[in-house]
């Protein structure tokens, strides 16, 4: 191919052409950089928000995988409890994918203080397992968390304490029903007060020792649920069938995305949303890009005509213009990625959005926003910009390539 210039020469030409009108190039670069930054940064924020909603949702579900009596999810009453896990299930829970699991008694109950009473969900838990699973000891703002299964103390949320006009160290009465539908009640001393990421949960969940609650409810060794978490909630489908098999037919084992289909579809919806967001930003960018290239071509009509007259093939000219656009895009992408990453990293510890926390709480996310930078999203943004960028540059490039050399040389 004698009419082909080496790539190196083409690159040099493209590079120099870019900086012939450096002001225009810089403005375009700035546009691409800001666009790419917005794509990545905003995506990370949205991902963070959704992650937060999902994690909070999964945590109160109560786990990535949950085992219940088949009727429990329709009627969370004490009658739908089941016996301690069998050997087989215990073995299955040892697989490395399982990060933590806990058995719980979970029943609706009523808590009353001297001044008020409220409906709650009473959780009888084993504190060690609970901490492995999801309970964060940092959330305890006063007092302590439970010490063991026999702990007779009660840990309640700060908001609940406020509603009941009670506080740490005081006694409250918890009432519920035993399997025979008789009323059971007992006084408990509040040993700890916790703060949840979602204040709504603070009013609902009340923790006490597993054995204490079993005794109160006359449940013997029965439990209401087993909650299991793994490393990453996105990978549950790989390991949960093994647990399901071990749990057997008479128990219902469901992963979080089936337990709460709303949360499940949220993740998929988010993937689609990110793509739409990136494409929309790109569309805005593309007008600038096309315009810049058209101007560059327009300015150089005579030059292009001359090159064609000297024997450069139209294909080469197309190639040349595309290469210019490619350089522009790649520089913009590099800058955009760098700025995006360097703005996200300082915000790793969360953005305080408590000013709008009430609204956020209604959406199920908490008052701290943790941006979540995902490699996939960054790659997607870059791929979209390069591919669509080159596609849109085809138009001015094709225009440049299709000039008639004589006419082009005659233009003033």
């Amino acid at each position: 191919m004698k009419n082909r210039l080496p790539l190196k020469a083409m690159l040099t030409l493209a590079w120099r052409n870019l900086w012939r009108n450096y002001r225009r190039t810089l403005i375009m670069l700035a546009a691409i950089t800001v666009g790419v930054w917005a794509m990545i940064f905003m995506t990370a924020l949205m991902r963070g928000m959704v992650d937060d909603m999902l994690l909070n949702g999964i945590r109160s579900l109560p786990g990535e995988v949950q085992i219940h009596h088949p009727q429990y999810r329709d009627d969370p009453s004490i009658n739908n409890s089941f016996e301690e896990p069998t050997e087989k299930l215990l073995d299955a829970l040892q697989i490395p994918e399982v990060k933590g699991w806990a058995k719980r008694v979970r029943v609706p109950a009523v808590i009353s203080s001297e001044r008020d009473s409220r409906g709650i969900t009473l959780l009888g838990v084993n504190p060690t397992n609970e901490i492995q699973l999801s309970f964060d000891l940092k959330n305890i703002i006063e007092g302590r968390f439970l010490e063991d299964q026999q702990d007779r103390g009660l840990v309640i949320g700060a908001k609940l304490a406020q509603r009941l006009e009670t506080r740490l160290g005081k006694r409250v009465v918890v009432m519920s029903q035993d399997p025979q539908n008789n009323i059971v009640d007992q006084g408990f001393r509040i040993v700890g007060i916790y703060k949840a990421r979602l204040p709504g949960l603070e009013e609902i969940y009340v923790y006490s020792g597993l054995e204490t609650v079993q005794k109160l409810l006359k449940l013997e060794q029965n439990i209401s649920e087993i909650a299991i978490t793994g490393e990453d909630y996105r990978n549950v489908q790989h390991w949960y069938p093994r647990i399901k098999e071990a749990a057997g037919e008479q128990l219902e084992t469901v992963p979080w995305y089936k337990a709460d289909t709303y949360l499940g579809s949220m993740l998929k919806m988010m993937d689609g949303f990110v793509l739409v967001w990136i494409v929309v930003i790109f569309l805005a960018l593309s007008f600038g890009l096309v315009n810049t290239l058209m101007m560059a071509v327009y300015e150089r009509i005579r030059e292009i005509g001359l090159m064609q007259a000297l024997g450069m093939r139209p294909g080469m000219i197309l190639y040349q213009i595309l290469l210019e656009s490619f350089l522009l895009i790649v520089i913009g992408l590099c800058l955009g990625n760098m700025i995006a990453v360097s703005t996200i990293i300082p915000l790793r510890d969360g953005i305080d959005i408590s000013a709008v926390s009430q609204g956020m709480e209604m959406m199920g996310s908490s008052s701290m926003l943790y941006p979540a930078l995902q490699l996939n999203d960054v790659l997607l943004a870059n791929a979209v910009v390069i591919v669509l960028g080159l596609l849109t540059s085809l138009f001015p490039a094709w225009q440049a390539a299709s000039y008639d050399p004589i006419e082009a040389l005659g233009k003033e």
């Binding site: 109950a109 203080s113 007779r152 005081k170 006694r171 009432m175 009640d185 007992q186 006084g187």
Partner: protein, 249 residues
């Protein structure tokens, strides 16, 4: 001489006979038994007072032992026939309008009974104070010819009681004059007070009792007994769900 014997007899009979060695738990037990008898039948009225309205209803009640009771509303007409049966801490209510018996679930036990200042729990579990509290006699007061014992009852750690303590004022003829409910910060929350003492059914009893919250002195409920008979034979069949639904007496 006759007077002397009489005096001794009075002494032996009189509650004062044990005043030197008062067992507070015993005293409360006696007061409860005195009020309830082994069984009883009473006709009473309840007045619920609020700052802007007041309503009264009259009802009949049967009791047997500590744990079984049946209350039925007679008047006003729109509430007539509704009733409450309590048996061993369980409670059922019947509403004729919907013709249904409802077992009061645990979630409603601390709610008000028939819109009054008494909670369902107050109605169904009034004798729990005996076993779930630690009683101490703190003071003996003089009230005319009577002695009044002030007993402080502190609930056990596990007791299903929200109060920090209750203070009972019991007169030496076993009339519960006053019962105070204190919260755990030693603030008085509500008081049940005898406002009238009469001889009814052969016993001297507190015939009018008022329950009121300290925070809202204008809100109270008064129970006033018109007639009461003690130690009558109330058949077991009276305290059944079918009898709650279909009054036979």
């Amino acid at each position: 001489m006759r007077y002397f014997i009489l005096a001794i007899a009075v002494c032996l009979h009189s509650p004062l006979a044990f005043s030197s060695d008062i067992e507070p738990r015993e005293l409360i037990q006696q007061a409860m038994d005195h009020w309830r008898g082994l069984s009883s039948y009473s006709e009473m009225s309840m007045t619920i007072h609020r700052p802007d309205w007041e309503r009264s209803m009259s009802m009949r009640s049967w009791t047997k032992g500590d744990k079984i009771s049946l209350v039925r509303v007679i008047e006003p007409k729109k509430d007539a026939g509704s009733g409450t049966l309590t048996k061993d801490n369980n409670m059922w209510t019947f509403a004729p309008k919907i013709n249904r018996i409802i077992k009061v679930p645990s979630s409603m036990m601390s709610q008000s009974w028939m819109g009054s200042d008494f909670s369902n729990k107050d109605i169904s579990k009034s004798t729990d104070i005996l076993d779930e509290y630690e009683h101490t006699l703190v003071e003996t007061r003089e009230d005319g010819q009577h002695a009044v014992y002030v007993i402080e009852s502190v609930p056990h750690e596990d007791a299903a009681v929200v109060w920090g303590k209750e203070v009972l004022f019991i007169r030496d003829d076993f009339i519960l004059l006053e019962q105070q409910f204190w919260d755990q910060d030693d603030v008085l929350v509500k008081t049940m007070k005898a406002r009238e003492i009469k001889t009814l059914g052969g016993r001297t009893v507190a015939s009018t009792i008022r329950m009121g919250k300290e925070e809202a002195p204008e809100e109270w409920t008064e129970m006033s007994v018109q007639d009461i008979e003690f130690d009558i034979s109330n058949p077991d069949s009276l305290f059944t769900l079918s009898s709650l639904r279909n009054p036979r007496r």
